[in-house]
């Protein structure tokens, strides 16, 4: 199978039953980008975009195969395919960067809010199964470390890590009140401290996350 055959293969594939798939794939990249931006800018952990990532990872695997197949048997069209490979590799790197960064941001949030996430079913459902396993294992290791290093030698009354004392909880929660930058897709209004604030289409605002959390999750405003 030479390079042109492969191209033809892809051609027929693209023209075949999956005529619309190109549009879908374009959307997927856009969705991944948006998901990444959202996860990075928002103080809480968002639901895991599992289906999207699965689809993209299939694409990633296909491209890796494509690169491997074509870099072994370099033939006459050498210049052409080299350039093509540069483009394919570049795109692969870009997509992988987005995926990695997305996963890392999530892991750092999971590390930070582990005790809180475990205590709420609603929060737990935002984690993928791998992330849940990771969280449990990581927390277990951390607890072992804390116990062996210092907790065991503390008085029993001071050993808990999830106590509420004088109205302050030890468990770290996301800062829902933290301000975020948003862009509005349509006219809207929000309530902050009992004051109604008008949001105009395409306006860019900075306001606390708690006030616009619902609008972010239903997609009426975009976080930046």
């Amino acid at each position: 199978m030479n390079f042109n055959d492969i191209l033809k293969d892809f051609e027929t594939e693209a023209k075949g039953p999956k005529l619309e798939s190109d549009k879908h794939r374009a959307d997927d990249i856009q969705r991944l980008t948006d998901t990444w931006i959202k996860e990075k800018s928002v103080p809480e952990l968002l639901p895991y975009a599992g289906e999207l990532l699965d689809r993209l990872l299939v694409g990633v695997r296909k491209q890796i195969e494509f690169i491997e197949m074509n870099s072994i048997e370099l033939q006459q069209d050498e210049r052409e395919i080299k350039l093509l490979l540069v483009i394919v590799e570049n795109e692969l790197d870009r997509v992988q960067f987005l995926i990695r960064s997305y996963v890392r941001v999530r892991l750092s949030k999971i590390d930070k809010f582990a005790i809180y996430l475990r205590s709420e079913d609603e929060e737990l459902s935002k984690l993928s199964s791998n992330e849940t396993v990771y969280m449990e294992k990581h927390l277990e290791l951390l607890m072992d470390l804390y116990n062996s290093q210092f907790l065991a030698s503390m008085p029993e009354g001071l050993q808990a890590l999830d106590e509420v004392a004088a109205g302050i909880s030890m468990v770290e929660k996301p800062e829902y009140e933290r301000p975020v930058f948003v862009k509005c897709k349509r006219d809207n209004h929000v309530l902050i401290d009992d004051d109604e604030i008008e949001l105009t289409r395409n306006g860019i605002y900075v306001m606390r996350y708690s006030a616009i959390r619902d609008l972010v999750s239903n997609g009426e405003v975009m976080v930046l």
């Binding site: 191209l7 892809f10 594939e13 693209a14 190109d22 549009k23 794939r25 374009a26 997927d28 990249i29 980008t33 931006i37 990075k40 800018s41 103080p43 993209l56 990633v60 296909k62 491209q63 494509f66 052409e80 350039l83 093509l84 540069v86 483009i87 394919v88 570049n90 795109e91 692969l92 870009r94 997509v95 960067f97 890392r104 750092s108 949030k109 930070k112 582990a114 951390l142 109205g167 302050i168 770290e172 800062e175 009140e177 933290r178 301000p179 975020v180 930058f181 902050i192 401290d193 009992d194 004051d195 604030i197 105009t200 306006g203 860019i204 605002y205 900075v206 306001m207 606390r208 930046l224």
Partner: protein
């Protein structure tokens, strides 16, 4: 336990996003497209205009396989017009593409031969535009309050430059005003005391060529005097905001002087 990564993006991450935008190219050779994870690269025909993402355009350009069609907004006349708008409308930012800064920079660096206007003129006009907008954005920081801030017309790169400062300051203002209101008095004050001095944050934001000292001083003063700032009228700034007058409730006189925050903290 662990520190969260910052909520802002690095300059290279913004550049990355800008590279996803599409741009028109004029291929020099015919070239078969290929399937990608995202939208496929269309077949390129010599001298047939084609829209591709900026990152592909830059690869093809580097290999001398295409010319980039410089977007209309990247011309001296267009930018000059925007500059005049900036001057004439001190309260608004003129409309520019969402990624105008990084795209202009990339194209000037990598495709300078595709420009119709002299690149040094484009560069200097861009610089003028950037400076006047930075000035406005900085003036707008005066309007900072704990409720909200409106910044229509800023591009992503410009937002990202002022983001760390604005977010931290707003957060501090909110914590302070909450403790003044009496709900969560203790937590509020402690939280505020734990955090570092906001004025130092401007250094961390990638502000580039800001004339730092003078702005930082005025910003430090401004954040210290939250309510007097909020009472300021718009005064030639590009940022609009409104502070609801009920936010402090009846607990204080509207004409309190600047020191009142401090007194509240001590009590």
């Amino acid at each position: 336990m662990t520190e969260l990564p910052p909520y802002h993006f690095t300059t290279s991450e913004i550049n990355f996003l800008a590279e996803q935008e599409s741009i028109t190219i004029l291929p020099r050779y015919t070239f078969n497209g290929t399937r990608l994870i995202g939208p496929r690269l269309p077949n390129l025909k010599a001298l047939h205009r084609q829209q591709v993402p900026v990152w592909i355009a830059l690869i093809l350009k580097k290999q001398d396989r295409c010319n980039v069609v410089i977007p209309d907004w990247l011309s001296v006349s267009f930018l000059k017009q925007r500059y005049d708008e900036e001057v004439n409308q001190p309260n608004n930012f003129s409309e520019l593409p969402w990624h105008w800064l990084p795209i202009a920079k990339m194209l000037l660096e990598k495709c300078s031969d595709d420009f119709i206007d002299a690149t040094h003129e484009v560069r200097s006009t861009l610089q003028d535009l950037r400076e006047i907008r930075q000035l406005k954005a900085r003036k707008g920081i005066k309007e900072l309050n704990e409720v909200y801030l409106q910044l229509d017309g800023l591009s992503l790169m410009e937002i990202n430059e002022i983001r760390p400062f604005i977010i931290e300051s707003m957060n501090q203002l909110r914590i302070l005003s909450q403790s003044v209101k009496g709900n969560g008095q203790f937590t509020g004050i402690e939280e505020a005391a734990e955090k570092e001095d906001v004025s130092g944050l401007l250094d961390e934001s990638e502000v580039g060529d800001y004339t730092r000292d003078s702005t930082r001083d005025s910003i430090a003063r401004d954040t210290a005097t939250t309510d007097s700032v909020a009472r300021d009228s718009i005064r030639g700034s590009g940022v609009r905001s409104r502070k609801p007058d009920t936010s402090y409730g009846d607990t204080r006189d509207e004409n309190d002087d600047e020191d009142s925050d401090v007194e509240y903290k001590k009590s």
